[in-house]
Amino acid sequence: MAEQINEVVEKIFQAGERALGVRWKDGHESSYEIRDLRLKCPCATCVDEWTGEKRINEKQIPADVHPIQIEGVGRYGIRIRWSDSHATGIYTFEWLRSHCPCGRCSRQLKN
């Protein structure tokens, strides 16, 4: 089974003051606004597992929320420990790639 090259991470880094950067094996680079990433946390506390409904109250997430620690999870994602002490979210590489906010990716998603 071959690896899916567009879901393989080469590097994760801080891209400016408020963005997390991911450089992918296929050369693409994604940049995620970090509060937006916190709001989209895919964990079971933040998203209802059955209905997919968001349970997060955006107003309760501080404006300056930021990662305290980022660690690899198995081979397939990262776990972010946030400054609001939320730490249960695993962002899989698959999820990150499919949520790349760049113009090209979001256009592709719409088509």
């Binding site: 991470v9 994760i12 305290i68 980022i70 397939y76 590489f93």
Partner: protein, 366 residues
């Protein structure tokens, strides 16, 4: 007297020898080491990526022939060596840092022979010269202590509170069965499963290992989740019997590993057929080759088929798996072949998998 041969000429000649698994010549793979030339006498090491390499003798012979053909060479001596390649590390270097490869042995259903296969593969790898450990994570029915005749043994720990695995038959063993009195059926609940497995992965003094095999509980539950999240597994091997009920669940296990990006080394079909001990005739009790269907579907190789053999049961119950108890039996040979296939697939996977990603981010607040 003929002019002395050069190292470069030898390397050029050796380029015709290809490793069939890695599909590259042994020179560009860097397998040829320590070339010594003493007039017409040439010697060198052939360093493979696993001592269990199924074609090591062929490779050695190929090397000898290629070099002997060179003019001026009167004698060739090739020494087989191995250096087991490591899984590309991935952020979590702190988990099992001294273990080169962590391989999960999984099945969809219980009773398909997963523990038996794991035990025999571990011993076959160890017999080939590798340093091997076996971690029994089967919370529902840890059977490894029985198979190695070490039931009821107590574990010891180091001064810094690390658990020491047991040594049995030359391999390092640890089982969830060592934690409980085996007369009391313990029902581990989700959070406990998580805690125990995490301890097994992070607080055990395994020492340096080439292969650590994990005997997983059947299915795709809490234990599997904890394992795939805690350690960057090098690969997974799926065990199934040829029956449809077993195949359906094997497929689920395979999909789970695929989801978390663990390389699937292959599928082993157990209790595949019945070979008559007297006449050698093969009777296919179930539909043999059912695993091949999944293999084709997911492009995963079949690593081997193990026959139904009553000696497997007896040796398992007696505390010495068949690979050691009856090393000359056909079944033991089959296990050794499969161990070679697993090791070869592992080397290929390590070679082709992407380099470790760099995940270290120290967030700077401005």
């Amino acid at each position: 007297m003929a002019q002395s041969i050069s190292e470069q000429e030898i390397l050029n000649a050796l380029k015709v020898v290809k490793d069939p698994d890695l599909n590259r010549d042994i020179v560009s793979l860097g397998f040829v080491k320590k070339i010594k030339i003493d007039q017409g006498k040439v010697s060198f090491d052939l360093e493979l990526t696993t001592p269990a390499c199924p074609v090591k003798e062929e490779l050695k012979k190929g090397c000898e022939e290629a070099v002997r053909k060179l003019p001026g060479v009167s004698h060739v001596a090739v020494e087989l060596k191995s250096h087991v390649s490591s899984r590309p590390q991935f952020g979590q270097t702190t988990v099992l840092p001294q273990v080169r490869n962590v391989i999960a042995v999984a099945s969809g259903k219980g009773g398909v022979g997963k523990s038996t296969v794991t035990a025999n593969l571990a011993l076959a790898l160890s017999d080939s010269g590798a340093k091997v450990g076996l971690l029994d994570c089967d919370i529902y029915g840890p059977s490894i202590p029985t198979m190695f005749g070490v039931r009821g043994k107590k574990l010891e720990s180091t001064v810094d509170q690390k658990i020491l695995p047991l040594k049995a038959c030359g391999i390092s063993l640890l089982s969830i069965g060592f934690l409980s009195d085996d007369k009391t059926a313990v029902i581990w609940r989700g959070p406990m499963v998580h805690q125990i497995i995490q301890q097994f992965l992070t607080r055990v003094e395994w020492g340096e290992l080439d292969y650590l095999l994990l005997d997983l509980p059947p299915g795709t539950g809490d234990a599997q989740l904890t394992i795939t999240q805690t350690v960057a597994l090098s690969g997974a091997v799926i065990i199934t019997t040829p029956q449809e009920v077993s195949l359906i669940d094997a497929r689920k296990a395979l999909v789970m590993f695929e989801k978390v990006k663990v390389p699937i080394l292959g599928i082993i079909e157990n209790m595949s057929y019945f070979g008559c001990a007297k006449c050698g005739e093969v009777a296919e009790i179930f539909k043999r080759g059912g695993a091949q269907k999944i293999g084709d579907e997911y492009k995963v190789p079949i690593l081997g088929e193990i026959p139904i053999d009553p000696h497997i049961v007896v040796t398992g119950d007696d505390g010495l798996p068949i690979v050691r108890a009856e090393p000359d039996s056909l079944t033991a040979k089959i296990y050794r072949m499969i161990a070679g296939a697993v090791a070869a697939r592992m080397s290929v996977s390590n070679l082709t998998l992407s380099e470790a990603a760099s995940l270290n981010v120290q967030w700077q607040n401005k």
